[in-house]
């Protein structure tokens, strides 16, 4: 299992999975503490119409236009939610529910009506992604990791996801103090003159970058699970923000690795032939971790 086959077939998906999981879990910590946990859910739904419109306009499945389309859709949905909330004096959760379901429904209908049979774009792909298919055909073994020619054949999703992870981590590292202040005591932060509203919007935008980059590789299920489950589990482990972020990154990595291995090799261990959905398994493992933390975490209680 650890030979050249592993490097070619399992290493890239695992690395991509880890990048996705950590990139989503990091901003997820702040979203969770700000009680905006469901923003990840909303973003991953509205990304679909953006990608479909980008495809219909350009006619190709290319990363650039799709990222633009998805980002545009995410921004549009944020504006629409805010508009409905203010104009109709509607509670934020309900406004969100109206916008993301309508946009998702529009995306599905557009997708089903247009001729996308020639390209790899369908609703199921959008939901579960296809982590297993991101293989590295040029790999001949561990030595390929040092071979520039072979490295050029890595699935494009891996560098893209790594860049997204770096962007997310850099944002959090640069704005750590103001973000922490604005998250825990918004009034105090505003009193210090910090721009709390642009900061909140920037957090949403960074989350959207992570979600959009991940969406194409792994589908929306992992994205939603990773935004919420690892930070929520980490919340049960500690009362310190820095520790919580570290725990959440560890939990996210663990979910991605265990989930992928269980999905790829688990059925073989119990004697079945085919593998199961890696995206679904990673989400399941993160849920199990959250369950364990909720039962046994040292800081799980309501009042601590």
């Amino acid at each position: 299992m650890m030979g050249s086959e592993f490097v070619a077939l399992s290493l890239p998906p695992i690395l991509i999975g880890v990048c996705v999981a950590v990139a989503c879990a990091l901003p997820g910590n702040f979203l969770l503490l700000r009680r905006q946990a469901l923003i990840g859910d909303a973003i991953s739904h509205v990304v679909l119409p953006g990608i479909v419109v980008a495809f219909l306009l350009t006619g190709v499945v290319a990363a650039g236009p799709m990222l633009l389309g998805a980002a545009g859709a995410a921004v549009l949905s944020v504006i629409a939610i805010d508009l409905i909330r203010r104009l109709g004096r509607i509670e934020a959760g309900a406004a969100m529910g109206v916008v993301f379901t309508a946009m998702f429904a529009g995306g599905v209908l557009l997708l089903e009506r247009s001729d996308t049979s020639s390209v790899h774009l369908d609703v199921e792909h959008a939901l579960f992604g296809n982590l297993e298919s991101l293989i590295w055909l040029d790999a001949r073994g561990w030595s390929s990791l040092l071979d520039p020619a072979a490295l050029a054949g890595l699935p494009v999703e891996l560098p893209r996801m790594a860049i997204a992870l770096v962007v997310v981590a850099a944002f959090l590292w640069l704005f750590w103090r103001p973000l922490a202040l604005a998250t825990f005591d918004e009034g105090f932060a505003r009193g210090l003159g910090l721009p709390t509203e642009p900061l909140g919007l920037a957090l949403v935008v960074v989350s959207a970058i992570a979600a959009v980059a991940a969406f194409d590789a792994v589908g929306s299920i992992i994205v939603i699970a990773m935004f919420i489950c690892p930070p929520a589990a980490a919340r049960m482990m500690t009362n310190r923000l820095g520790h919580q972020v570290a725990w959440s990154a560890a939990f996210a990595t663990l979910s991605a690795i265990i989930g992928y291995v269980l999905a790829g090799y688990g059925p073989i261990w119990i004697g079945a032939s085919a593998s199961v959905s890696a995206a679904g398994m990673i989400a399941t493992v993160s849920g199990v971790i959250l369950g364990i933390a909720a039962v046994a975490g040292p800081h799980r209680d309501k009042v601590s």
């Binding site: 309900a94 109206v98 998702f104 529009g106 209908l109 919420i228």
Partner: protein
């Protein structure tokens, strides 16, 4: 073709499905209103996503027991059981741990859905699983439904509607005035349980029609739409039921003539269209109404400021003010006030002077809070009080 579908001319099954979708829509609209007013709209999203593992496991179980696994009733029972487990998880995470309800909803939603996907991929490798058609539960598919399934759908939708109507009173009470409900002896815990039970049943019945990803829209959109049209409790419920019913009916009818498209998105977009119309056109909260109100307010302010300027003999340069006064016949094109203009300006100045006295006097504190620079003072004070105020206005003095 669409007319045929809307008039139920497409055969017995399609008619049953359309009527069933309509009844389901009414039930979802009414039940969703209570959920919306308790500010727990998105709990239904967790419930609906949590049905997927149940559907998959029920299929595997039924195949294991020798059937073909496609019995709709069996699948829906499985869905109900796993949705209930998901609901319990949300409740447990919210009450027993430090997580907020939003985090609990998101966690349950994604984990159950992910686990459901794992089970679906297992089913795809089974021999019986290739034609299972469980994907129809994701986005809804009513086209080509079997006779038995259509009857099951219509009957269960009717039963849900009856259930909602029976429990309407306590739910309404709890949604609008929890304190009063508790004081009159209702247990909030039980009412919430009943509400979640109804939402669960609506979700399960709606799986085949709208699909588990979008059923949350059928619960939320009608309630939000209704909220634009009325401020009264009973009316919100009725309008939401109507909006839900129309979405279900029109959506299912349109889906009957476009069998390749999933039903759920069509139903949701029909409802969303009604929401958009309400957002734009509703009299109280609509966009158009707010724009009109802002426009009128702006004109009143300009008019008032223009009149005050006239009264003090100042020229008016601001174009909108100038145009408004001109159109009302209060000034001539060169800015000189007409006799009506002089009268109106004197009236405005008197009003402003009276207000400044009222606002400077503590004994008029209550009346002074009504000052906004536009309200005529006669609408706030009595003639006696006005006389008292007028007595304090200083006579004009000669400026040396």
């Amino acid at each position: 073709m669409l007319a045929d579908a809307l008039l139920l001319q497409l055969g017995y099954n399609a008619t049953l499905v359309t009527i069933g979708a309509c009844l389901l829509g009414i039930a979802a609209g009414v039940a969703g209103t209570f959920l919306f007013l308790r500010k727990r709209a998105l709990v239904s999203d967790a419930i609906s996503h949590a049905t997927l593992p149940g559907v998959g496991l029920a299929f595997i179980l039924m195949v294991g027991m020798g059937g073909d696994g496609r019995s709709l009733l069996g699948l829906l029972v499985g869905a109900g059981i796993s949705a209930a487990i998901g609901l319990l998880c949300v409740h447990w995470l919210t009450t027993r741990t430090r997580l907020g309800e939003d985090a609990a909803i998101g966690a349950v939603l994604s984990v159950f859905f992910g686990f459901g996907i794992v089970i679906l991929t297992i089913i795809q490798t089974m021999n019986a699983g290739r034609q299972a058609g469980l994907e129809g539960f994701l986005l809804g598919s009513t086209a080509g439904m079997l006779r038995g399934d259509a009857i099951l759908l219509a009957v269960s939708a009717a039963l849900v509607l009856v259930l909602v109507l029976i429990l309407r009173r306590p739910l309404e009470l709890a949604a609008f005035d929890p304190g009063y409900a508790q004081a009159t002896g209702w247990s909030m815990g039980r009412i919430d349980l009943a509400m979640m039970g109804i939402v669960l049943v609506v979700t399960v019945v709606g799986l085949k029609v709208v699909g588990l990803i979008l059923i949350v829209a059928l619960l939320i959109v009608p309630a939000v739409t209704a909220r634009f049209w009325t401020e009264r409790a009973g009316h919100v419920v009725i309008i939401a039921g109507a909006v839900g019913g129309v979405s279900g009916y029109v959506g299912a009818a349109m889906s009957a003539i476009a069998p390749a498209l999933p039903t759920g998105p069509i139903v949701v977009l029909v409802g969303f269209a009604m929401f958009l119309v309400s957002l734009l056109l509703s009299p109280g909260r609509g966009v158009l109404a707010s724009v009109l109100m802002h426009w009128r307010y702006q004109r009143r302010v300009h008019m008032r400021q223009g009149l005050l300027a006239l009264a003090q003999g100042q020229p008016i340069f601001e174009t909108l003010t100038h145009r408004l006064l001109r159109r009302a016949g209060l000034i001539l094109p060169d800015g000189v006030p007409t006799s009506e203009g002089q009268a109106a300006a004197a009236k405005a100045l008197l009003d402003e002077t009276r207000w400044s006295i009222v606002r400077a006097d503590q004994s008029f504190a209550a009346a002074a809070t009504r000052y906004d620079g536009l309200t005529a003072i006669e609408t706030v004070l009595t003639p006696d009080q006005l006389n008292e105020v007028d007595a304090r206005i200083k006579a004009p003095e000669v400026v040396a």
